[in-house]
Amino acid sequence: MAPDRETAARNAGRSRSARLAARLAHVDRRLIFVVVGLAVALPLIFPLNLPIQSSREARAYFDALEGLEAGDEIIFSFDYEPDTMAELDPMSMATLRHAFRRGIQVVALTNYAGGAGIAERVLSEVAAEYDRTYGVDYVFLGYNPDYSATMLRMGESIQRTFPTDHYRTPTDELPLLQEVDRYAEIELLVTVTASALAEYWIIWAGGKYGQRIIAGNTAIQAVLIYPYFQAGQLDGFLGGLKGAAEYERMIEVDGAGVRGMDAQSSAHVLIVLFILLGNIGYFLQRRAERAEGSQ
């Protein structure tokens, strides 16, 4: 091949790879959105039923509740708002199912103003499934401003912290709260949260009053509470929808957590593929730029 034709062929090859690199590195975001939508929706419509293994932290969460006896009391704090309902509602439902099924009594509250509506819905739905009576088997204290003072005061007196429940009934008239009034009389505290509130419960209810605590967290938040679990300040925890799915499998009542696992798997795989694609494009582009620079 003549030298000029050789150079032209090499340049054509380079421009082809440069075009490919540019294409890989700059996929239209609308296309990404459509593919993500499909990756989430299709497994929900056509489930793959991928096997779900349980982690040791989820097993510990289950064991903490399983270790209680009928008639024992727990505090259940709905520490989230509607934005994270999809991830945390399955945990709340499964935990309350587990508790009501075993005859455990529940003192519920929320540290978020937006959590009251969620708590009412979840509590009434699960209580109806197990035919539990308000005031005797469970109560809902509602929302109290200032979570730090609420957490600390409940160690002294729940009735003083919440003079009335969410429905304005004086708490000293509720049979369940005539039996228990502070952490020392409560076997376990459960917080389901999308924020750092699990850490605050550990510091104030656990650190100051020695309350046993388990937590359900969004996947992002779960990463931050590993040290507390390892140190024994947290008896167990659930991380994200996967944690909810593991727990649902343990109590043998499949719910939204298990149903969401296939969709979450495909979405995660897709995001990893996009990351790889972006990096391949990036390296090809860098090589093409270097080749152009060396000419």
Binding site: P51, I52, A219, V223
Partner: protein, 204 residues
């Protein structure tokens, strides 16, 4: 006195909260409960101040027809409507729970659900192995992302994912927590002793 008074008051309350932790004395426990009562009252008042401030911020925007004023009008309408229906029908009945279940909850859930799309798009655009450290972060991220879902467990990645969370992640988190704890202790001591006075405002 304008400056000394609050500093003395801060010292007394700070010391009281410190001492109560170490003594079962009923008198101290009662004062501790008083402080917690006040704390909740103060918090409640700040919520009211927040609502008033939000109202006037948006009222001004509507009144002066500033950019985006229709959104401010919508915010004001929502605020006033929710307060009125809660006062008239109580938060447990009528339009208030309906608005929560059928407007606020779906809207907030939708906003959060959009994250999946933006995370996919942003990770494709920004998560590049530009350096050794970025590559390490990328590999750890990919392993944890896959190891935390059933498909990753099928591939045996959950062991690696758990190791990353149990060791490097925990070590980093512990370091941060210890640093934050020491910083908070130092700041608390400085406030109690009146060395740190920025909470009193300018010129304190």
């Amino acid at each position: 006195m304008k400056r000394t008074g609050p500093v003395i008051f801060g010292f007394i309350v700070g010391m009281l909260m410190l001492i109560q932790h170490f003594t079962p004395q009923p008198w101290i426990a009662d004062r501790y409960n008083n402080v917690l009562d006040w704390k909740q009252v103060v918090f409640g008042v700040t919520l009211i101040l927040g609502v008033i401030s939000l109202f006037f911020y948006h009222w001004k925007k509507v009144e002066q027809r500033q950019a985006g004023w229709p959104y401010s009008l919508l915010t004001l309408a929502g605020l006033v409507f929710m307060i009125l229906v809660a006062l008239i029908f109580t938060p447990e009945r009528g339009p208030y729970p309906w608005m929560f279940d059928h407007v606020q909850a779906p809207m907030q859930a939708t906003m959060f659900a959009l994250l999946a799309f933006y995370v996919a798009s942003a990770s494709y655009r920004a998560f590049r192995a530009r350096s050794f450290h970025a590559a390490l972060l990328l590999i750890a991220g990919v392993l944890v992302m896959l190891g935390r879902v059933p498909i990753g467990e099928l591939l045996g990645l959950h062991h690696l994912s758990s190791w990353i969370l149990d060791y490097p992640n925990m070590a980093a988190k512990r370091g941060v927590m210890i640093g934050v704890g020491l910083g908070m202790t130092a700041t608390a001591i400085k406030i109690i002793l009146g060395i740190e006075r920025t909470y009193l405002g300018k010129g304190a």
